[in-house]
């Protein structure tokens, strides 16, 4: 039997964007087993639901994470609105969808940059983040914040997108699409990039299904699961298809996310064209009483929001199941048999968001 040793990986590591710790059992240079441990940045945000009133929790919920912030606020609002049977105005639904897709775009650009950094392509990394900056500028223009938007409230949204802002978004989409088209061949066709991505960390469809993976990670393995098809927000009025790939390797995950950016551009354009006139928020009276279970598609995958209310301003329970938590099992599976040098890259390909996972 070959000699086995255990290498601790993280929580502080140059390639890791967020603190996750893995104990890697290795044989020579091959990973035999990976044992994850989390809990470095637990902040107890869920228990704040019992101390803050349900309106204030919107702001707590969106601070669960800095990248999927809009989605968390959105999911929480959807859950409370479902309990209170509030009919959100159509315009608010469309505005939420536009902001959600913009945040998906900037999250995917962030990931593309981190991936490029992961395989040691610094130039490409900066190129991706440079494009992402344009999306952040538009988000700041329309919401006032670059990563935390604070536009959601129970019953609708607080800010409107004016016609001038719609033009700014449209212009930004055109230029982002143009610049993205320039860098797509580098990710998809470059010899050295493909040599780092192709055939690395393959997860079959059966494995992804058994391990309950979510989001682009599962879609890259051929599972056509996209919660946007459930039709929350304005998605039921928009036309889109689930993007999947059947290869299941790092290359497929990169491919799926790049195609999702193009899809988001298309969805935002559709939403801007169909943007109805009307109120921004519905009046909300009283306190929620009951429970609700909402699933939405975050940039990283399916997120679940469970809210239980008791008729008082303070909720009984607020629970978030995040996509990264679902994907950790899949990550450990892909790590088995991988080269030690690919570990950083493989952790990146699930797009880990540990601050969501630990809340």
């Amino acid at each position: 039997m070959k000699k086995r040793s255990i290498v601790p990986y993280g929580p502080q590591h140059p390639v890791l964007p967020e603190p996750i710790h893995l104990d890697l059992v290795i044989e020579d240079e091959k990973i035999v087993e990976a044992i994850p441990s989390i809990g470095f940045i637990h902040r107890g945000l869920e228990s704040l639901a019992m101390k803050r009133d349900f309106n204030q929790m919107v702001y707590v919920a969106e601070r669960v994470c800095g990248i999927c912030s809009f989605g968390h606020g959105f999911g929480y609002c959807e859950a409370v609105e479902d309990i209170m049977k509030v009919e959100v105005p159509d315009r608010a639904k469309f505005l939420r969808t536009i902001w959600f897709e913009l945040s998906r775009m900037h999250s995917h650009f962030l990931w593309l940059g981190l991936l490029a950094d992961g395989f040691g392509f610094e130039n490409l990394f900066y190129q991706c983040w440079r494009i992402r900056e344009k999306i952040l500028d538009v988000l700041e223009l329309t919401t006032g914040g670059r990563v935390i938007f604070s536009v959601n409230k129970i019953g609708g949204v607080m800010k409107d997108i004016t016609p001038e802002m719609a033009v700014a978004i449209s212009e930004m989409l055109t230029s982002v699409k143009k610049e993205l088209k320039q860098i797509v061949p580098i990710f998809m066709e470059d010899y050295s990039v493909r040599s780092r991505l192709e055939g690395v960390g393959v997860l079959t469809k059966e494995q992804a299904h058994t391990l309950g993976c979510a989001g682009p990670f599962a879609r890259a393995s051929g599972i056509g699961a996209d919660m946007r098809t459930l039709g929350y927000g304005a998605y039921k009025e928009l036309d889109f298809e689930i993007i999947t790939s059947d290869k299941g390797d790092c290359y497929a995950r990169c491919d799926v996310r790049i195609r999702e950016i193009f899809q988001s551009i298309d969805l935002i354009r559709q939403a801007l064209d169909k943007l109805p006139e009307g109120e921004l928020a519905a009046a909300v009276k009283g306190n929620p009483n009951g429970e609700s279970f909402i699933r939405i598609e975050q940039p990283r995958g399916e997120a679940v929001y469970y809210v239980k209310a008791n008729g008082s301003p303070h909720l009984d329970r607020m629970r978030v199941r995040t996509p990264t938590f679902a994907n950790l099992a899949g990550l450990c599976e892909t790590l088995k048999g991988a080269d030690y040098a690919d570990v950083g890259l493989l952790i990146l390909t699930i797009d880990p968001c540990i601050s969501c996972t630990e809340r």
Binding site: R52, N55, Q56, M57, Y59, V60, R63, F121, N123, L124, Q127, R130, E133, E140, L141, T142, T143, G144, G145, I148, S150, K153, M158, K159, Q182, I183, P185, I186, E189, D190, Y191, S192, R194
Partner: protein
């Protein structure tokens, strides 16, 4: 399969000006909606305390009698919920971030002496009117009582 196909993009970037600004030598530009800090038109504030109850962080303090409004800018996350809740619409979200500091001292706002004096005058006036009304009601009640007693005697 292409080899080194980033070179055209890299060369183009070499000829372009930098996309970053050389802050702090150039001033930072913020859009109108930028959530930089909360400001108050203190003279319009009625001291109702809706903002203190709305604040998820507990960063605000209001004293109605002294006419003061306090914000701990290091606790405030500029979510804008106080602005949403203010009944007099005298709170605003404005661009320009809080500068770093060594001490966590709250920003303190007090109404101008003229406004305070006017409010004090108003309060006194209201108190006087209330006292008058009370005296009037008491006198009426007394008169009614006397009349009732007189009726009973008859």
């Amino acid at each position: 399969m292409a080899v080194m196909n980033f070179i055209p993009t890299a060369l183009k970037n070499l000829l372009k000006p930098p996309v970053t600004t050389s802050y702090p030598f150039e001033p930072a530009e913020y859009p109108e909606r930028s959530r930089g800090h909360i400001s108050i038109e203190i003279d319009n504030c009625i001291g109702c305390g809706m903002c203190t109850r709305a604040c998820p962080l507990g960063a605000l303090k209001v004293d109605k009698n002294a006419g003061t409004w306090e914000i701990d800018r290091f606790d405030c996350v500029v979510c804008g919920y106080c602005v949403e809740k203010c009944p007099k619409k005298c709170l605003f979200v404005q661009p320009g971030y809080q500068t770093p500091g060594g001490e966590k001292t709250p920003s303190f706002y007090q109404k101008s002496p003229e406004v305070l004096a006017a409010e004090e005058e108003k309060r006194k006036e209201a108190a006087r009117k209330a006292a008058e009304l009370k005296a009037k009601k008491e006198a009426e009640a007394k008169a009614a009582q006397t009349a009732e007693n007189a009726d009973k005697k008859d």
